[in-house]
Amino acid sequence: MSLAIHYDSTFDGFLSAVFEIYRQHLDVTSFVAERPYEAEHEVSSDLFAQPFHIETSDESARRLKRAITNAASKDVLNLLETCFRSEDAGIEMNILAYLRKLFAGLDPNYGKNPSSLEMIPLITIARSVRREMDNMYGMVRFNKAPDGMYVAEIEPKYDILEMIIGHFRCRYPNGTWAIIDVKRGFGVYYENYKTHFVTVPDPSYISAHAPPDEFTRMWKSYYDTMAIKERINPRLLRRCLPVRYWKHLPERSLPSQTLGNRGDSRLQLPSTIAKSNAVASLMLKQSN
């Protein structure tokens, strides 16, 4: 009888499941992660596999981690965890396939070989998770709340919030800030040099609490001026900055303001430019 393993969607939970698979010689066809933010009906289940729930056990996860470190290395363990964060469908089976080969012991150098057929796809997945992590360093946008706290909402494809906290702790050590993963309904709150994990059932409340302010609008208009009209290239833009991130970037989601945008000055008539120059010099005089 083939089984669909249900576990609690954490990496330790997955490792415990693998541990049990080995201990009880289970025949597995798929894994089902029970994510709190996904409703029951959204979880795709295999019709022909029998569901089988495995509880997370710290002890067995720890033992399996030690076994992986011994058979391969610490780096490989980190790589597997990074892959696991991708939450891709079937990533668990890929990792399990790698572990089976690793523990089979047929090739004593298997753990060191980065170009084995099971390892290369894992390396590519880990690379894209790390790429999103690197992108997210730049794409978190804080809004200032009236109480001085800075709040950001993100919606990453992979579960990378925990991987980026260190960077922001280093960057704003004295501030009070929160980053919320809207898709997964949890966030991190930093205050007085301490980070706390919080669950956020309703993120819309928070974004209403910290609306865009004058600096956000200035950023937006600065962003608009920076584009060189002659070189506009929407395909390149979408490749560098995928559309799925635009929702939480004020420079792409706020309506663009034509006022004060000098980007198209070359397209204006000379008389229009002269007029705006006269206005500018008048304003200069007034401000002095």
Binding site: D107, N109, K112, N113, P114, S115, S116, L117, I120, I123, D134, N135, Y137, G138, M139, R141, N143, K144, Y150, C170, R171, Y172, P173, N174, G175, F215, M218, W219, S221, Y222, Y223, D224, T225, M226, A227, I228, E230, R231, I232, N233, P234, L236, L237, R239, C240, L241, E251, G260, R262, G263, S265, R266, P270, I273, A274, N277, A280, M283, L284, S287
Partner: protein
């Protein structure tokens, strides 16, 4: 004038500077302040033209006293002028940084008063950010040509990176287009900063102050004057070697000013040429190529149809096919279709197992290109018997046309075409003809139109 309007004018004036990187500096947040340096740099967003924005790139002022032909801020141009106060700029930087919009400040300026006075203003902003606000983010300061060495040195203490733009790649053209500048006035600050950085480098202590930790960069405009690609690459190779530059940027000339010394104002920016130059630049920086391997006196221009790495491979059939199982890392890097990451994976993995095509595919090697150049049991032998002239059309065939055909390209040209390439007036399709043993010449439908524009 309110701050937002100033920001728009001065950001608009600075946007033609292409330097965007925030890499090369690693620093923890200073005590009591905020901001850190991330060694690989962070892109924060991309503008509509697909260029990355990582720093708040602004001019301190655009009221310039110089009159360089290619520049949007030259004194004879009728554009709105504005000048920040240091306080405004510092506040803006800090607020943007707190919201994680930017990685730091890129501050340049038009020359107001004297070069020394302008430089002093820039330094004042950087100094106050570092010392008063304990700002640990990235600061890129422009070295104003003609500023005294004392000020350049001071700038190096607060900035992560500094740059002097050479703009026009030959001295004669530079003096023609920018009467107030010459090569000597640009090289002097570059050399000065490079020497000081070398002196500071000898002191290895963790606690000693750093001088320009992220080094220097420069930029040149491509397509404003008549330099060849070979001249441009020679110059940039010199910068990498002698001035220890971290980056040399190329900026495809965007016609801003109508000036009889420059290409006509309707010219389109030479984006493809710029792209090929960057590819060549990458070969020098990451693929261990020398500038004179990529181009030479006889072939002074990069090929618009194929990237420079493929061109090198086609000119050197004696080096191929490469056996991935035994070849040096340097040689594997030179195979078209194999990048740095795949090359590293191949080298570290081949000790344990044979590298097969299946592995290469999963690694992301572009087999479409690489198959002509690698030796492998699974690659058909016939591919290795092909002459370079036969491989060339095969490599081009799959690609979309590099330049868009427009109405006038396909029209028969009324003016007499140059004698040596009369056949190019006909837009021939670029279809692979592998059986032909004749050397196939490049077919560029746009050549006649270009030659008319130059006349």
């Amino acid at each position: 004038m309110d701050l937002r309007e100033k920001l728009n004018i001065l950001g608009d004036a600075a946007k033609y500077d292409v330097s965007c990187s925030s890499s090369g500096s690693k620093r923890n947040s200073p005590k009591g302040g905020m901001g850190c340096g991330h060694s690989s740099g962070i892109c924060h967003t991309w503008s509509a033209d697909g260029r990355c924005i990582s720093l708040l790139k602004v001019l301190f002022s655009n009221a310039c006293k110089y009159d360089c032909a290619y520049c949007v801020n030259r004194r004879s141009n009728d554009v709105p002028r504005a000048t920040f106060t240091p306080k405004e700029l510092i506040n803006l930087t800090l607020e943007f940084y707190r919201r994680n919009y930017i990685e730091g400040l890129f501050l340049s300026s038009a020359v107001i008063g004297t070069p020394d006075y302008t430089m002093e203003l820039l330094i004042k902003v950087a100094k106050e950010l570092r010392l008063v606000h304990h700002f640990g983010g990235y600061i890129h300061l422009k070295a104003i040509p003609g500023a005294s060495s004392r000020l350049l040195f001071e700038a190096g203490l607060y900035a992560d990176r500094s740059s002097v733009n050479i703009e026009i790649p030959s001295d004669k053209q530079l003096q023609y287009l920018a009467p107030e500048k010459n090569f000597a006035s640009i090289y002097r600050p570059m050399n000065f900063l490079a020497e000081r950085k070398l002196e500071y480098k000898t002191d290895k202590s963790k606690y000693s102050p750093k001088f320009l930790p992220a080094g220097q960069s420069t930029q040149m405009i491509v397509g404003a004057s008549g330099e060849t690609d070979f001249q441009i690459l020679t110059l940039s190779a010199g910068f990498y070697k002698q001035q220890q530059m971290k980056r040399v940027y190329f900026s495809g000339y965007v016609p801003i000013n109508a000036d009889k010394r420059l290409p006509v104002i309707t010219t389109k920016p030479p984006l493809l040429r710029e792209h090929r130059l960057y590819q060549a630049d990458w070969l020098m920086r990451f693929y261990k190529f020398e500038y004179n391997e990529i181009l030479d006196e006889k072939n002074p221009f990069l090929d618009p149809d194929l990237d420079p790495k493929v061109m090198w491979a086609l000119r050197h059939p004696e080096c191929f096919p490469v056996d991935l199982q035994t070849a040096d890392y340097e040689m594997i890097l030179r195979v078209p279709g194999i990048g740095v990451r795949s090359a590293q994976l191949i080298v570290s993995g081949r000790r344990y197992s044979k590298i097969r095509l299946e592995h290469l595919k999963k690694m992301g090697v572009v087999l479409k290109r690489a198959k002509y150049f690698i030796y492998n049991n699974e690659v058909p032998r016939e591919l290795h018997r092909l002459y370079p002239e036969m491989i060339r059309p095969l490599l081009i065939a799959g690609k979309p046309k590099s330049d868009q055909l427009d109405l006038f390209d396909s029209m028969p040209v009324a003016l007499p075409a140059p004698a040596n390439n009369t056949q190019t007036a006909m837009p021939l399709p670029r279809i692979a003809q592998p059986t032909s043993a004749l050397p196939i010449t490049r077919i560029a439908p746009s050549t006649p139109t270009l030659s008319i524009a130059n006349n």
